[in-house]
Symmetry: D2
Subunit: 231 residues, 4 copies
C-alpha cells in the first residue's frame, strides 16, 4: 500500500451506502486505476469492511470514516486506531459534517494518527475553521461548506483560491481537497484545474447508473486536468 500522497489525489467516499461485495467491486476498479496511473486514490469503507478491502487490493489507500484518538484500554464502543491499522487502514476522515468532532478529541485523533502513520483527511465547513484545523497539522483538509453538501453545486473559483491561500499560508505542507457538489467528471476536471490538490465524490458515483464507469471517468478527468495544468 502506498505511504505517500501524490497530487492530484482522488477520494472515493461511498460513506455508508456500500458494504460487502458492492463496495469491494468498486474498490478493485479504483485499485486498478491507482496502479495504471500511479495516482493516490483513497477509498473509504465502513469499519467492519476495512480488512476485506485491504486484503483484496494493493494500490489504493484504504480509509476509515472516523477514528477516535484513544489508546488500547477501555474505550468501549469507540473506534480503536490500532484495530483500524491492523485491518489495513492507512488513512481516516475526521470531523465530517455527519459526525462532527469535539475540538480536543479532533486534536487527539490527529496526534494518534501521526504516531501510527495514518493519513488524516479533516473536514472544515468554513475558511476560518479550516485555518483553525491547519494549526493541528493534518495531512489533508477538505473544505466543504456545509450548505453545499449534496446540492450538486461546486465551490467556485474564488472560494477554492481563498481556501488554498488561507491554509497554505499557515502550513504549506497541508494538501487541500475540494469536493463540495462534485457530481460529474467535468466537475472533477474543473476543480483540479482551479488548483485543488485533490477531490472526491460520494453520491455522484454510488447513485450513478454505472458507478464503475463514473469512477473511471472522474479519476481520468483529474489526471487530464493535472496534465493541462503542467503544460
Amino acid at each position: 500500500m502506498p505511504t505517500s500522497i501524490t497530487t492530484p489525489f482522488f477520494v472515493f467516499n461511498p460513506k455508508s451506502y456500500l458494504y460487502g461485495d458492492a463496495l469491494l467491486n468498486l474498490a478493485k476498479v479504483a485499485d486498478q486505476l491507482a496502479s495504471n496511473y500511479g495516482m493516490s486514490i483513497f477509498v473509504t469503507a465502513p469499519f467492519a469492511d476495512i480488512s476485506n478491502i485491504s486484503e483484496n487490493t494493493s494500490n489504493i489507500i484504504v480509509t476509515a470514516q472516523h477514528m477516535d484518538g484513544i489508546d488500547p484500554g477501555r474505550g468501549m464502543g469507540h473506534v480503536l486506531p490500532e484495530s483500524l491499522h491492523r485491518a489495513g487502514a492507512r488513512a481516516t476522515f475526521l470531523n465530517h459534517a455527519e459526525n462532527p468532532m469535539i475540538l480536543s478529541e479532533l486534536a487527539k485523533s490527529i496526534k494518534k494518527a501521526k504516531e501510527l502513520k495514518i493519513q488524516t483527511i479533516v473536514c472544515a465547513d468554513s475558511i476560518q475553521e479550516a485555518q483553525a484545523i491547519a494549526k493541528l497539522s493534518p495531512d489533508i483538509i477538505l473544505c466543504e461548506p456545509t450548505e453545499l453538501i449534496g446540492t450538486g453545486q461546486t465551490s467556485d473559483e474564488s472560494y477554492i483560491k481563498a481556501t488554498n491561500k488561507a491554509i497554505k499560508e499557515i502550513n504549506p505542507d497541508i494538501l487541500v481537497m475540494q469536493a463540495a457538489g462534485i457530481s460529474t467528471a467535468e466537475d472533477v476536471f474543473k476543480t483540479i484545474s482551479l488548483g485543488a490538490d485533490g477531490t472526491g465524490c460520494t453520491s455522484g458515483i454510488v447513485k450513478s447508473s454505472d458507478p464503475s464507469k463514473m469512477l473511471v471517468d472522474m479519476v481520468e478527468s483529474a489526471i487530464k486536468a493535472n496534465k493541462k495544468e503542467v503544460k
Copy 2:
C-alpha cells in the same frame, strides 16, 4: 455460528484492550469452550477486528461494541449494521456506560438489530433504567450500577434478585446479565448461583497474569454454578 442463546451464557468483553492476534488467541480459547460445553459465549471485538475473529471461529457469538440504528446511506463515521453483519457479528452491545446512547437512537438500534437477527446486550445503570429499556425488548439487559464498574465489587444478592424481578415482570423473555465487578472465577460462580442468566468480564481476564486460564476458569465456574442450581 449459534443463533439462539442458552443459559447461563458468558460474555468475554475485552473492550479496546485487545485487537489482532492477542484478541484472536483468546477468542479461539473461547471458541473451544463453547464447543466443549455447548455454551453461549459472546466475544466482543473492535469493529475492524470483527471479520478476523468470525473467520477464525465457529462456536462463539461474535459481538460488536456498539451499532448505530442506521440503514445504508449517508451515515458517515457511524457504525453500519449491515457491515457488522457481513463481517460476522451476530450480537452487539448498546448503551454501555463508556458510550451511552440517546434514547431514540437506542430504540432505533434495537429495532434494526431485530431485522438483521443481531442479538442486543443493552446496558442499564439502575433498576428503573433497566425497566425502561425492557419496554424496547432487547435480548439481554446488563445491569451494571455505574458506581461499581471497575471496583472489583460485585452486585449483591438483593440487587440481583430485584433486577431479575423488575425486568422479567415486564418481559419474561429478556435475559438478565449481571457483571458488575466480576474479577475471579468465584465471582462468576456466585453471580450465576444467585440467579443471573449470564455474566461476563473485561479487566479480570485481560489484566490477569494468565488471561487464557482465567477465561477457562470463569466459563467452567458458570457451568458448575448452573449444574448446582439444577440439582
Copy 3:
C-alpha cells in the same frame, strides 16, 4: 404559581423564537387566560428569561426548555435545576427532538425534578419510546412522531388513542400531550376532543400574524373541546 395540573392543559412553547419583551407580552396574555379559566397553561422560556417571566406572571406554569439532572457542584455549562427553580421554573421539557437526551441522563433529570417538585414534560417520537419513558414516571409525555414536527400535519385519531392506551396501561397517572402539527384553533379542538390530556403549539402562534389572538383562540378551543367532552 399553580402546583397541580388540571386537564386539558395547554403548552405555549415559543422555543428560541422569542425572548425579552416579545416573550413577556405573550406570557402575560397566557397568564390572564390561566386566571380567567382556571386552566393549567405552561409557557416555556429561554433559561435566562425565566426569572423575567415568573416575576411578572402568577397563574402560568413557567417552564424551562431543558434541565440537566445535576446537583450543585462542578457541572460547568450545564443547566442547574436549583437555579431554574430559584428563578421560578416549575416545569421543564426534556428529551425534545432538537435536544435529545442520553437515556441515563434523562432518568437522572426526571428524578431530580421530582425532588424539586418541577413538573416534567418528556418527548417521545414513537409509541415504543413513550412506553420506555413511562417507566421513568414523568408527569407528562408528549408524543410527537419526529416526522410530523413542523409539517402542519396533526396526529390522527388512531395514533392518539393508541398512544393514550400504551402510556396509561403502564402508569395511569401520566398525562398524555399530543402536539404534532398543531397550527390552528381547530387543530386544538380536534386533538382535545380525540382524548389528549393536553396540547400545545410553537410556530402556529409565533409565526401567526396576530400571535396574541391565536394564543387566546387556541386556549379557548381547548376549553370548548373539553366542555363538549363532559356533556
Copy 4:
C-alpha cells in the same frame, strides 16, 4: 457594565456550585472590588441566575457558562445568545472541559458573540489546541491542561511563557488566562507575575472557609503582582 477588558483581569467562576443569594453575595463583593480598583472582574452565573446578578451589580462583567451559536428560531433546549444578552451577560465561557464543544459549533458561537459584543473566554487543554482556537479570534483563551484541573497544581513558568508566545504570535490581541490549580492568593500573585494577562478561580474560593475574604485576597494579589511587574 464595562465594555473593554483591562489587565490583569480576574475571573470568579463558581460553576454550578452557587446560585441565588449565595452567588449574589459574592458577586456584590466582586462588584465592589471592580469599582475600587477599576479592574475587569468576570463573574459567571448559571443561566437562570444571570439577570439576578446583572440587576444587582454594575462593575463586574456578568458571564455565562456557555452559549450556543444560534439565532432566534427553533433551538429548543439550547442557550440563546440574545436571551443571555438581554439578561445582562456581556461575556461567556466556551469549550470548557466539562462541556467541550464541536469545532464548528465553537466557531459559530464565537462569531455570534462578536455580533452581540459578548466577550468570549475559550478553554484549551493543550498549546496546540490553543493555537487552533486563536485562529477563531476569541477575546480570551484559557490555557488549562486538563490533567491539572482540580489538582491544586498550577501551570509552571515554562508552560505559561510557551502558551503566551504560541497564542500572541498568531494574534497579539488575544488575552491569555492561566488558571490551572489556582487555590491561594499566592498562586494568583505568581501566575500574574509570570506574565498571564488574567487568572481566576473556582473551588479555591467556593470551598474556602471564608469565600468572600478569599475572593478579596485573590483580587488584591493580582493587583499587587501587576504593580510589581510595572516597576
